[in-house]
Symmetry: C2
Subunit: 313 residues, 2 copies
Amino acid sequence: MDKRPTLLLIAPGKWGTLWIDKLQAGPIRLVVHGRDAYATDAIDYALSFRPPPGLLKSLRNLKGVFSLGAGVDGFLENGDYPERVPLVRFVDETLAVEMAQFVVMQVLIHHRRQRLFDAAQAQKKWAQMVLPRRTEDTRVGLLGLGEIGLLCAERIADHGFPVSGWSRTRKAAPRVTSFAGDDERDAFLGQADILVCLLSLTRHTKGILNAGTFAAMPAGAFVINVARGGHLVEADLVAALDSGHLSGALLDVFETEPLPPTSPLWSHPKIAVTPHVAAISQPGVVVKFALDGIAAFERGERPDNIVDVKTAY
Amino acid sequence: MDKRPTLLLIAPGKWGTLWIDKLQAGPIRLVVHGRDAYATDAIDYALSFRPPPGLLKSLRNLKGVFSLGAGVDGFLENGDYPERVPLVRFVDETLAVEMAQFVVMQVLIHHRRQRLFDAAQAQKKWAQMVLPRRTEDTRVGLLGLGEIGLLCAERIADHGFPVSGWSRTRKAAPRVTSFAGDDERDAFLGQADILVCLLSLTRHTKGILNAGTFAAMPAGAFVINVARGGHLVEADLVAALDSGHLSGALLDVFETEPLPPTSPLWSHPKIAVTPHVAAISQPGVVVKFALDGIAAFERGERPDNIVDVKTAY
């Protein structure tokens, strides 16, 4: 009889193919949800990003769940997570590095007017100009100052931008002006010429990018959302862009992913869309995270980065 | 009689308008070449980027010349520079910061496949993918490791890329693999997956981006030229792109600027063109550089950053 622990992989098909071979090489029995028939009582561990409602609750012998992403909102938003089962968040330095690359790139594309130069090239037009706004006058505000937010803040400050951050509790980072709590939110927003959302999605942060938030920002501000689609009220963003109050937005995450071809976001002239690529971990790193975590549980230990299911942090 | 020193501004019309008001407010008499009539013997100082051949030599009482750019090739390439007159190079920290922003942005746009996602958005296509090449396997090589090159190297290394540099003499920079001299050039090129040209234009570096250089680089490599158009043999680049050996290029500088609408570079599918905007100093900084330099000369001092006209450094 096979004594290896059984891992259930619950993931969209195209990602699964990146991991299945590597997972199968590990000291586990792999079951792929949707592809393989399985008895729910036989599942020891699950690896997922956004499991179907009720599924995890039906796995009565589950000993641990691993999140494929840094955010665990996909597990907790339906309120049906089996609280007795430890939920392990994916924490990976390469994820923070990738996010910082992406955020710095998008801040610079906006600040250096790269899209204007792309459009000028298409018309064979030499659009040389001095930057309309100096770097030291372009304030970047990060919503969320966790480990990823702090790395992004450092990389942005390196390029000469004044950087601030907003979080639940005040953070001590030498080059970041820290705003904390609801009382300081409007003061934070009022000085964010470029706003980057890096928050976890919880019931407190859902819809935080809304009409009130945009109105509190300086005229001509730019919005970058690399957190979750649920943070953004899409209609409010479109209204703030169409009124001319905001100058543009870069969206990497959406309420529905893949973003449907019918979405008006695709063709809005002030919105750049990327397909949830700000931080995608290399398959080898994800597989190691799951296999190391399973090994820890099997030795009777608790892996690092177990989430407090009540607060989602 | 007006005892103020006379400064001759020799600059393309559209830039001149940015500086003229600010220069006129200084303790000098301003003469604008092309706009104002002037006696050549009355000129004490000149501020220019690329003076017409023979013009500086005709100014017999010239006491100093100021370069509007960090590079002074525009003064020296015709061999008619009046060697007795000190030539002062524009050195400005904001210029290095701007260059580092631009180079990091272009390295990331290539590495993170941003142009592919832009094209996918135009087709409303969700092109999600894992990065085809890991950051730690993407080696960035800088041709030129002066003060600007070293700052670019630091900013690129911050994002996890292995960085090397090539210069005449070996440099000691903790995170940069330093290659030096002709003997090590091919070894340097052989490991440059992304090559960034930041060299001064001299008779030694003219045409350095040529077929031999491209052939020495790894297959699929990417070229960024933010130095001078004279560094690049355009036909050799197009051939290396069309053969598939190089994967793409970003060009900010050109042999003829503005790049003529007839240039095939505008519409090459693997070439991105920007209009010499990698590092443009703020008008106030340029004006201060010239006025401070004139004041130093008038006090009988020599300003910093006087160029050795023989070596062009």
